[in-house]
Amino acid sequence: MDDTEDTVDETPEVSKDDVPSVPDHREATRIAEALLFASAAPLSVDDLAGRLPEGADVGAILEDLMALYADRGVHLVRVAGRFAFRTASDLAFVLARNVVEQRKLSRAAMETLAIVAYHQPVTRAEIEEIRGVATSKGTLDTLLETGWIRLRGRRKAPGRPVTYGTTPHFLEHFGLDAIEDLPGLEELKGAGFLEGRVPPDLSVPVPSDDQALREDEDPLDHDELFQPLSIDEGGTGGE
């Protein structure tokens, strides 16, 4: 605030005119500062003008305040044409705390993950065919978030559906050396996961999490690589 006054003093011809208004300007600046501080929402120039003493130069006051706070821990910023105090963006880290949250996968997500693991590269439609139920976008998004599955490419087929596969992180998390270490149906049966006779035609395709695309896969479009979560396959619609 005193800074402001100083600058005013440097321009004598203006300062003479302003002499009676200097204390007012100071006071108006204090009021604006308090109003901006106490307001729950950003304030517009009009909001401020309505609360400041008659004739206060809101524009100058805001400029002064902005300059005053420019290199401080808090800045006066313009948001959507209004003004508000905000933590200096370079200090955002002091207001953040990282919390590691343990989450469990839903049954649907777990089943989808298993199918991706065993049947990769697999499309959403194929997952749905195996599960016999539509797969919600959220389920795949969650799995992408875990870092265990990834978008591989697009199947060379009508509609060019996205193919999903697992990541090295998946192997790491589940303690597998390679995707081929996933037990086959007979082994599952032996371990008691499956009951009854396993018909020979009920087989498991050999999963491949090879980085290289298969012959029936096209690469993803360039921008999909960077925004995997926003991809909508235009698929079968959520559950």
Partner: protein
């Protein structure tokens, strides 16, 4: 507490102008001590110099007036009136020689002290109330910026969960297969009957397949016919009714009936 008084509307001006005029309305008071304090204030003297005797008289008069007007008075007002009447009589009578009971002067002093204490806390309450209240005169940040909790989700799942989930899926398929397809079966009994009929006509080696062709018109019947026929054949071999020969793997199976015991051993 008492209801509003009937004459309240009659003489409002008088009440405002002449403050000392006793307005009998207990509604505005917070109990007998508050009433006493108000009466003491009307003495317009320092509370230290208050005449407890005069105060007691005023209080009693007030209460009598209120009762005459049949106001409902809370019991504690009446209790205080009775106690003050007692104090008044003690103060007016000559003090008996020092006894067990506190003297009338002590009682009066204690009452005066209580009044001053109430007055003091009232004053304190007023000062407290006049302070800058947060949210009334003084304000905190209107839009506090909460500490952003960045949640790094750490998903938990075990290989066991994964395999169980997969098996669950496949199991459903497995069960579904059994119930969906009605399989055509050529039973062992059918096979046995057919073979016995065949053996009845045979005298030398003949291929089983040729004979079974008639039962395999439907392609889907082929595996079951072949399997059942082979089982039945082996059964009849065991019983010594038939002998079987196959020259190499996947080659046609030849059968020949056994007519006598000598050949059966071969």
């Amino acid at each position: 507490m008492a209801e509003a008084l009937p004459f309240e509307d009659v003489a409002p001006v008088e009440r405002a102008e002449s403050e000392p005029a006793l307005h009998v309305d207990v509604d505005g008071f917070e109990g007998p001590l508050d009433l006493l304090l108000e009466l003491a204030r009307r003495q317009k003297v320092d509370l230290h110099k208050i005449s407890i005797l005069a105060l007691a008289e005023q209080y009693i008069t007030f209460i009598e007036e209120a009762r005459r007007m049949r106001l409902e008075l809370a019991a504690d007002y009446l209790v205080m009136a009775a106690w003050l009447a007692y104090l008044k009589s003690r103060l007016l009578l000559p003090e008996p020689p020092k006894g067990e009971e506190p003297s009338a002067e002590d009682l009066a002093t204690a009452l005066a002290l209580r009044l001053r204490r109430l007055e003091a806390i009232r004053e304190a309450a007023k000062k407290l109330g006049e302070r800058d209240w947060l949210g009334r005169e003084v304000f905190a940040r209107g839009a506090p910026e909460p500490v952003m909790i960045r949640r790094d989700a750490h998903y938990e799942a075990s290989l066991y969960d994964l395999l169980k989930a997969y098996a669950r899926q496949r199991q459903i398929k497995l069960n579904a297969k059994v119930s969906l397809h009605k399989r055509n079966v050529w039973s062992l009994v059918d096979a046995r009957d057919a073979l016995e009929r065949l053996v009845g006509h045979l005298s030398d080696w003949t291929t089983l397949d040729t004979y079974l062709m008639q039962y395999m018109v439907e392609p889907s019947m082929r595996p079951t016919v072949l399997a059942s026929a082979l089982s039945a054949t082996l059964e009849m071999v065991r019983e010594g009714k038939l002998t079987v020969r196959q020259d190499e793997a996947f080659a046609p199976v030849w059968v020949k009936p056994i007519r006598d015991t000598a050949e059966a051993g071969a």
